[in-house]
């Protein structure tokens, strides 16, 4: 067994790090306060080929391997969770099209998603349906050569800036995935502000009233919108969140190492106190463990191993929980300064909490993981 990044992966990591340090870190608090991501930043991200970079070269992408993509998410996660969410939801749509799109959808959309000409978002959650996602209430009915969609989607990351949405709706009473363009008549996009974290992720509520879309905008087949199409997207999303959470925790650690090397109490630097060292040690160990989990998930993805799906769920669950603890301890270590917007750790704390809720809450991950290892007993009395 060998766990070691390749030379190319290390080089790419350095490229991501330099970009994030220059373009994201200095402005991340401002994005958070203004609750928006500047279009210039998104343009630069796209120009660098970072968007949906795992799309194969034959479809206009970079053909980036998943481990490298994890490194990208870790670096962007260390800079801003809101920026990370752009990679997450845009890539979720791209991945779903790559896996389940028709040849026309693939050839038409993937190059535009890879170049950033079109920004994608993922519309599953609704005001009354979250975790029980296969029960979405949005409907789609065939009317001639079109599907007509009705419903409301809520908490849609990048909804304010997206050009195209993957919408999960009930068609013939079964969860089904559709592509809806932002300028579809009947689609109203309402910004959501005032969130705890991911404040610059430009969330929106989508009101879908009699939206008529071409029949060809069906993705996959009727009844497979949740299990397979959203399943593919969420699997990718969980991997991004896992790696992004590692980045977030790393930012907490770095902030704490710097702060505890300057701040003195009781005549010695904070880092000299053993209880502070304990918190720093837990961060270091947690980050290493979570990173290994996402590396493993990424490796399994690169080798197309079915175990990669559970590995991503485990990595997301562990890494997000770890990030919340790291961020909470980072605020603690900073004392009152940690509660002030003069330091970034309060943002890390707010953003970390969101990591435990998105792409399937951690309770949903726990349920999935426990079923995977067969904790639940087989029902008696079956045929």
């Amino acid at each position: 067994m060998k766990i070691e990044l390749t030379t190319e992966q290390l080089e790419q990591q350095e490229v991501f790090r330099v970009f994030v340090d220059k373009e994201v870190v200095p402005c991340a608090d401002q994005f958070d306060k203004e609750e928006r991501l500047p279009s210039e930043l998104i343009g630069k991200i796209a120009e660098n080929g970072f968007l949906a970079a795992t799309i194969p070269e034959s479809n206009g992408g970079k053909g980036m391997d998943m481990v490298t993509h994890g490194l990208l998410c870790e670096e962007f996660g260390s800079g801003s969770a809101s920026v990370l969410s752009l990679f997450t939801v845009h890539g979720m749509l791209a991945q779903a099209i790559l896996q389940w799109g028709s040849p026309e959808q693939r050839s038409h959309l993937l190059p535009q998603l890879a170049s950033g000409k079109k920004i994608g978002a993922f519309g599953l959650t609704e005001p009354d349906i979250g975790s029980d996602a296969k029960s979405v209430q949005t409907t789609a009915k065939l009317d001639g050569a079109s599907y007509v969609l009705n419903g409301t989607k809520k908490w849609i990351s990048c909804g304010q800036i997206a050009d195209i949405f993957l919408i999960i709706a009930q068609c013939e009473g079964k969860p089904t995935a559709f592509l809806v363009e932002k300028d579809c008549p009947g689609l109203t996009i309402k910004p959501i502000t005032g969130l705890l974290g991911f404040k610059a992720a430009m969330l929106a509520e989508l009101s879908i009233e009699e939206c008529s879309i071409p029949q060809e905008n069906l993705v996959g087949r009727i009844g497979f919108g949740f299990s397979h199409v959203a399943g593919t997207a969420l699997d990718y999303g969980r991997y991004c969140v896992a790696a992004g959470s590692v980045g977030l925790a790393r930012a907490c650690l770095e902030a704490c190492l710097s702060y505890t090397s300057e701040r003195q109490q009781f005549g010695s630097l904070l880092k000299g106190h053993q209880l502070i060292q304990q918190m720093l040690t837990n961060m270091i160990a947690g980050i290493q463990a979570a990173r290994l989990l996402y590396f493993q998930a990424g490796y399994l993805k690169d080798t197309l191993d079915p175990e990669s799906i559970t590995a991503s769920a485990i990595a997301k669950y562990f890494a997000s929980t770890m990030a919340v603890k790291a961020a909470s301890d980072a605020v603690q270590i900073h004392g009152a300064n940690g509660c002030s917007d003069e330091y970034p750790v309060q943002r890390y704390y707010r953003d970390a909490k969101i990591m435990e809720i998105i792409e399937g809450s951690n309770q949903m991950q726990q349920i999935m993981i426990s079923k995977y290892i067969g904790i639940s007993a087989r029902k008696k009395g079956r045929k």
């Binding site: 996959g220 079915p306 799906i309």
Partner: protein
């Protein structure tokens, strides 16, 4: 590849998820209630990797994946 080898390979994979040696070839996998929501995609990945076939969007049909027999038939059609 004989029918039995395909079925045995499917069974070996399924056993990781459903710890049940008595699983019959025509038992509906999705009706057991024991599989988690990740399983459907894992089954697709398994089929693609193990048998080197591509599951296309038009193959998305429960009839292709609901039982060991169905997966076996699907794989043999694709090979």
């Amino acid at each position: 590849m004989t029918d039995d080898t395909i079925k045995e390979r499917i069974r070996t994979f399924l056993f990781k998820h459903i710890k049940d040696n008595e699983l019959s070839n025509d038992e509906n996998l999705f009706a057991s209630g024991l599989l988690n929501s990740l399983f459907a995609m894992q089954l697709v990945m398994f089929t693609e990797k193990e048998f080197q076939v591509k599951v296309e969007n038009e193959d998305l049909d429960l009839k292709n994946f609901s039982t060991i027999n169905a997966i076996d038939e699907f794989v043999r059609r694709k090979l």
